[in-house]
């Protein structure tokens, strides 16, 4: 049965046919939350380094790719994270407004698996200063299986 929320869904289904190289994702905006810094730092064993200065741990916003995906796609079975890279340009601070946007830089079937790569950048939303560039490569799960 189709729910009212499903009927109102305007995003594309997360599946190989809908992922295309060059597709722009975002932007998304957020403010770096002090509570998130505290939780993330404690979860990765780094609380004493970051909490004093309100600096976000280096990969705290790595999951921005998921926000970018969710803005454009729905459903799907998720994926398996295969590779990642980060270039750090400036620290993120508590209370800082950030804009993140990206694009799909790779979408291909290789050795029976469907890989996609998203490159994304986060900037200070007010000054435009580049904070971090990064990319995720993942294997898309199709119907729950590594396709």
């Amino acid at each position: 049965m189709t729910s009212a929320m499903d009927a109102a869904e305007t995003r594309a289904l997360m599946c190989p046919e809908n992922l295309h190289e060059g597709m722009k994702l975002g932007p998304v905006f957020y403010v770096v939350a002090p509570a998130q810094i505290e939780k993330f730092a404690r979860a990765t064993g780094a609380d004493s380094i970051f909490l004093n200065d309100g600096i976000a741990p280096p990969t705290m916003r790595l999951q921005d790719y998921a926000l970018l995906i969710a803005k454009h796609f729905h459903g799907g079975s998720g994926g398996v994270h295969a590779k990642h890279w980060n270039e750090f340009h400036a620290p993120m601070h508590a209370g800082q407004a950030v804009k993140t946007e990206g694009r799909i830089t790779r979408a291909e079937r290789k050795r029976g698996k469907f890989y996609f790569e998203i490159e994304y950048e986060s900037h200070d939303a007010e000054s435009g200063e580049l904070l971090v560039r990064q990319a995720i490569t993942a294997v898309l799960l199709v119907e729950g299986k590594i396709s």
Binding site: K39, F40, A41, T44, I49, R61, A70, S77, H81
Partner: protein, 133 residues
Amino acid sequence: MSDLISKPFQLDAAAAIAYEEGVEGPPRRTPRVNIHTDDAAARKAGFRAPIAGGEQTYAVMATFLVKSFGLDFLRGGRLQAALIKPVFYGDTLTMHARALDGDAGPLQLEVWTENQLGERVLVGTARVPRKST
């Protein structure tokens, strides 16, 4: 530079829950059921049990680099890594770094993470601004 080795980090269920609380994911209509949370979903994808998120393994390596080289790593540092074996809840991870080159330019490192069996689960490289070393 001699090889660097971290203290052991146990990625148990409590650490995974703490990590989930420390990231901002998309809002969900239903509880998360996937290879990280559900036995059946993990087996269907080819794993013997639910696996920890690769992002957390990657985050622990990034934190190790900041602990080792200071916050200057966040101005000009780089990390790239492949997640080559699954990490299961309860695994104990140890992070390693080894210098690759000489004295000029940024410090180039080979980095890897081992589980409690000595198996590499993450392999990659890192660049550290020389001023922070």
